[in-house]
């Protein structure tokens, strides 16, 4: 079950996936970014500063919490939550935003741009930029601005400029395209702080590395709590940053890894974002990986109730883990995510982000059949940002 070779290889490939598929104008800047990242990660002073920020500013380490009541109700596997939702700004995204912002400062960049879907990466990046006094511009699809409105305001409150993207489906895919156009234009002054384990090399590697702390902590804590490794680790997968962050520490272990994609309204193309359900290898936004596309190689429209999972291509390392059968990928539909969120809220007093609710739903589905097993679920974000969507979908709770 082990994955022996170091991934990615020196050219940024995860097996046949990943790579660097961008216009020539970005090639030299990506080479420069890779060198800067490799130098920073070998520099103890950089790591010490990041660790200090992760601890005192972001709130690491996060707890591994045993859901006693939920476990008893389900009567099967023991469910633990890795509480990334307790981090400053509300999701795991801050790990990467702090890391890349430190790197951008080290590279002398005066301006940071980012894309955001659910707004969690945008908020984390806005916070990091405020902290370092760096100009911040966040591209966000207009549809996502509508459905994740609280996060738009939070970004602006921290001094970021939020630019609505009106192209395509007005969601994450279109926001990334627009951020790439900005970067192509302003590459001399600007760092593109990409928020998921996507894009051209070195992004999938770098973003993963900044999130590896999730799995390292969870692994140590479950060993303390249970005296053994978990049977199963479950995480939701949009681009795949929280999932790869928790999976990585368990890759060499005999632990089942499950990624949960967005099943949306149905598995008809255009109504979901489950790349392993009907997707095929393709190239978008700099990387080769599984993507949803039509018969002519055009990127498909996607849908998920969760803006953070509503994206057309999965991070390239997940594509490799899928092909190697090292991780399994499944999907959860909009309704089941809502039901899972409500159940976690009522049983444990924890309101998850809609993204993370997809992972919770998979745990709820499996736990009753697997008594004696131990599950670790990555609760990647909290649900404050989703209050409007929860209200719309649970009108009985919103009556006067």
């Amino acid at each position: 079950m082990s994955v022996s070779a170091v991934q990615p290889d020196s050219t940024g490939h995860f097996g046949p996936y990943g790579g660097r598929f961008v216009p020539e104008v970005l090639m030299a800047p990506l080479e420069e970014l890779e060198l800067a990242y490799r130098a920073a990660s070998a520099d103890p002073a950089f790591q010490a500063e990041l660790d200090d920020l992760l601890h005192h500013y972001a709130g690491r380490p996060t707890p591994l919490y045993y859901c006693k009541r939920l476990t008893e109700q389900l009567g099967g596997a023991k469910i633990y939550l890795k509480r990334e939702d307790l981090l400053h700004t509300g999701a795991h995204k801050i790990n990467n935003s702090l890391g890349q912002a430190l790197l951008a400062r080290r590279m002398g960049k005066k301006r940071i741009i980012a894309e955001t879907g659910a707004g969690q990466h945008g908020v984390a990046t806005a916070a990091a930029c405020a902290l370092f006094g760096i100009e911040c511009v966040v591209y966000m699809g207009e549809e996502d601005m509508r459905r994740q409105r609280p996060n738009v305001f939070r970004m602006r409150l921290m001094g970021a400029k939020v630019v609505p993207v009106l192209n395509g489906s007005r969601t994450l895919k279109d926001a990334i395209s627009e951020a790439m156009r900005d970067w192509v234009t302003n590459v001399h002054t600007t760092h593109y702080l990409l928020g998921s384990a996507l894009g051209a090399h070195p992004y999938p590697m770098m973003v993963r590395d900044f999130h590896r702390c999730i799995g390292i902590e969870a692994r140590a804590d479950i060993l303390k709590a249970e005296g053994r490794l978990p049977d199963t680790v479950i995480a939701c997968v949009g681009g795949g940053s929280n999932a790869i962050g928790i999976f990585h520490a368990f890759l060499e272990d005999d632990v089942q890894l499950i990624g949960v994609e967005a099943g949306g309204r149905s598995l008809t193309l255009g109504e979901h974002a489950a790349r392993f359900e009907g997707g095929s290898p393709g190239v978008l936004h700099g990387a080769h990986s599984y993507m949803l596309q039509n018969d002519d190689g055009q990127a498909a429209i996607t849908h998920s109730i969760s803006a953070g999972l509503d994206y057309v291509l999965i991070g390239p390392e997940h594509a490799l883990l899928h092909d190697q059968h090292r991780a399994e990928y499944t999907h959860c539909n909009d309704v089941d995510a809502l039901v899972a969120a409500q159940r976690l809220a009522r049983t444990e007093g924890i309101i998850p982000a809609l993204e993370s609710a997809h992972a919770v739903a998979e745990a709820l589905r499996r736990a009753p059949q697997e008594p004696g097993k131990v599950f670790v679920v990555n609760l990647s974000g909290r649900g404050d940002k989703d209050t409007d969507i929860y209200r719309e979908n649970l009108p009985e709770l919103d009556a006067h």
Partner: protein, 261 residues
């Protein structure tokens, strides 16, 4: 045998002028219209046509070509239809045709099949906007094998090492991106173009064509003094969008500015 692209630059070199290269998004506004628009460009003095394959996520393009891509896709344009358009242009003219596309539609179609079908349709070369030379090897083989030119881009950010690599991978000509940024018209020509041309000339004997941000006759004339080819894209696409009837005179103004003196 030299391709039509190589023959063109031989000829313009003899005539001591630069080639005018015109970009069209195939299928904009409809697949039926494109051959006729191409004929207009040829009549107005365009020496080489870049036939753009519309893509859902054109990250290297500015708003004008983004809108053209959306119109073309909405009109049902697919890669097979673009090849059909090429066939129609070729039936009426010997103008060199360069297929200009993002990688994914080509990859999805299959490179071996694309190389064969493009050649059969009368296409002379292929430029893949988001294919870096580092990733290019597996895709170039079938294109070269079919006798198609492979044109790659250099940019103001390209290091000397990269200029050398891109020149080695290119046949037909090297496409110089005149400034950092997406496609689109600019008020001023980029200052960096001259030095990019000099740096690239020092590395390769291939013809150099410059594009991105060139839209007016004066700009075309200025670039024609330095480069072997001048690419005009967004200005043509905008003319098609706003006033197709004025396209011929607009392009004629560009081509005559480059031939004057």
């Amino acid at each position: 045998m030299p391709t039509r692209i190589q023959q063109l630059f031989e000829r313009t070199r003899t005539e001591k002028r630069a080639a005018l290269i015109g970009y069209l998004t195939a299928g904009d506004p409809t697949p039926e219209k494109t051959p006729e628009i191409a004929a207009t460009l040829i009549r107005a003095g365009v020496d080489l046509i870049e036939l753009g394959v519309p893509f859902s996520d054109p990250v290297a393009d500015g708003p004008v070509i983004q809108r053209a891509s959306a119109r073309a896709l909405n009109a049902g344009t697919t890669l097979p239809k673009v090849l059909d358009i090429a066939r129609q242009i070729r039936a009426a003219s010997e103008v060199p045709l360069l297929l200009f596309t993002y990688l994914n539609p080509a990859m999805h179609y299959g490179f071996a099949k694309l190389a064969k079908d493009a050649k059969a349709a009368g296409i002379d070369g292929v430029l893949l906007t988001d294919l870096s030379v580092e990733e290019a090897a597996p895709y170039m083989q079938p294109l070269r094998h079919a006798g198609l030119d492979t044109v790659f881009l250099v940019a103001p950010t390209s290091t000397d090492r990269r200029l050398k690599l891109v020149s080695e991978f290119s046949t037909g000509f090297v496409y110089l991106v005149s400034r950092t940024g997406v496609t689109g018209e600019q008020q001023e020509l980029s200052d960096s173009l001259g030095s990019l041309i000099d740096k690239t000339r020092a590395i390769t004997t291939l013809p150099l064509a410059a594009g991105f941000g060139i839209s007016t006759p004066n700009q075309a004339k200025a670039v024609a003094r330095m480069a072997d080819g001048v690419v005009v894209g967004s200005a043509i696409v905008r003319q098609i969008e706003t006033d197709l009837g004025g396209l011929e005179s607009m392009v004629r103004a560009l081509s005559s500015s480059m031939r004057a003196e």
